[in-house]
Amino acid sequence: MIPKIKNILYATDLSQNSPFVFQYAVDLAEKYDAHIYLLHIMEKAPLISQDYLFKDSSLGKALRAEIEKERVGAVNRIKKRMEDFCIRNLKARAFLLKRVKIQVIEGHPASDILGKVDELKPDLLVMGTHSKVFLTHAFLGSVAKKVLDRIKIPVFIIPIPEKTDTSFRDVREFIDIYPVRILKRTGKIARYLNSRKHERRR
């Protein structure tokens, strides 16, 4: 029974190391005449900001509506960014572009990668060892570990090469993906509610 590789799922965090890992997915797609699902999972906003956001006040409702608008905008921005990523990294092999399907969902990386594997039923998963740019000194990133513990299909796991620059630039790139306006606003909510708290005490 010859192993079949017709559909490849590449889960990316769009960080600085992803072009390196993407090349392995592209190489496989070329050699096996396969399709690639390019998946990015937007992490949900931190719990504390959601707590404020879902408070049942007029302020909360107005902010929720605006955040929702921002979120849809973010998804579209990321899709566009992923298209650019493909074009940039496929270069001479542009014929492969039509074999790449872009998927963006909001959720939790490890469990949603496994969910997508069940849904799309790829023959192979490709991922890097580190998906969170901040923890580049971890031996095996937490997402990779959680996925590997549960996965039922072959995985091609690509260690990030040592000589990659892991400086502050990574952090800015990470923040660039998520609208800074949302991050700023959650800070404003916290400060506003804190100031109100002092008034209520009197």
Binding site: I2, L148, I157
Partner: protein, 171 residues
């Protein structure tokens, strides 16, 4: 473009999982025109078992006896792996040329695998997720996990398939 893949390390623990993973190693070797190095690492006997065996040792010198038996075992396993390859390559005998080496070492599996990667200059590795001690819901096997923690090259991690036509002879 990815770095050229000239050498693939295939690590096996002689389980069905590993046998299935071999097909991915062969596929990769064909696609990249690469050689395969096959490695099996015999885990050391736990100290408690060794102590028990020593008290029942047939000869005065346990060291010599153990050494001789280990060498015998290694030769036997190597023959078994060669037979496995021949069976896998039944329809394509020329594939045998792709197998650059078959080695059986005793020691710590993860450590020896990583060392072999350095020794052979492997560009890629292939191994199963679990070995023989398998539970259907188990997490990633300990050897695979230890290897992944430290390996510097891409690894194909192959889980057990639902159906397979692999038949392994008894050891």
């Amino acid at each position: 473009m990815i770095p050229k893949i000239n050498s693939i390390l295939y690590a096996t623990d002689l389980s069905e999982n590993s046998a299935y993973a071999f097909r991915y190693a062969v596929n990769s070797a064909l696609k990249h025109d690469a050689k395969i190095h096959i490695l099996h690492v015999q885990d050391r006997i736990p100290a408690s078992v060794e102590a028990m065996l020593k008290t029942h040792s047939p000869t005065e010198s346990w060291e010599e006896y153990a050494k001789a038996k280990t060498e015998e075992m290694k030769k036997y396993i190597k023959k078994r792996l060669e037979a496995f390859c021949r069976r896998e390559f039944k329809d394509n005998p020329t594939f045998m040329d792709r197998v650059a080496s078959i080695e059986v070492i005793d020691g710590d599996p993860a450590g020896e695998i990583l060392q072999k990667v350095d020794e052979t200059g492997a560009d890629m590795a292939v191994m199963g997720t679990h070995g023989k001690g398998l539970l259907a819901h188990a997490f990633l096997g300990s050897v695979a996990e230890k290897v992944l923690h430290r390996i510097k090259i891409p690894v194909f991690i192959i889980p057990i398939p639902k159906e397979t036509d692999i038949i392994l002879s008894e050891i």
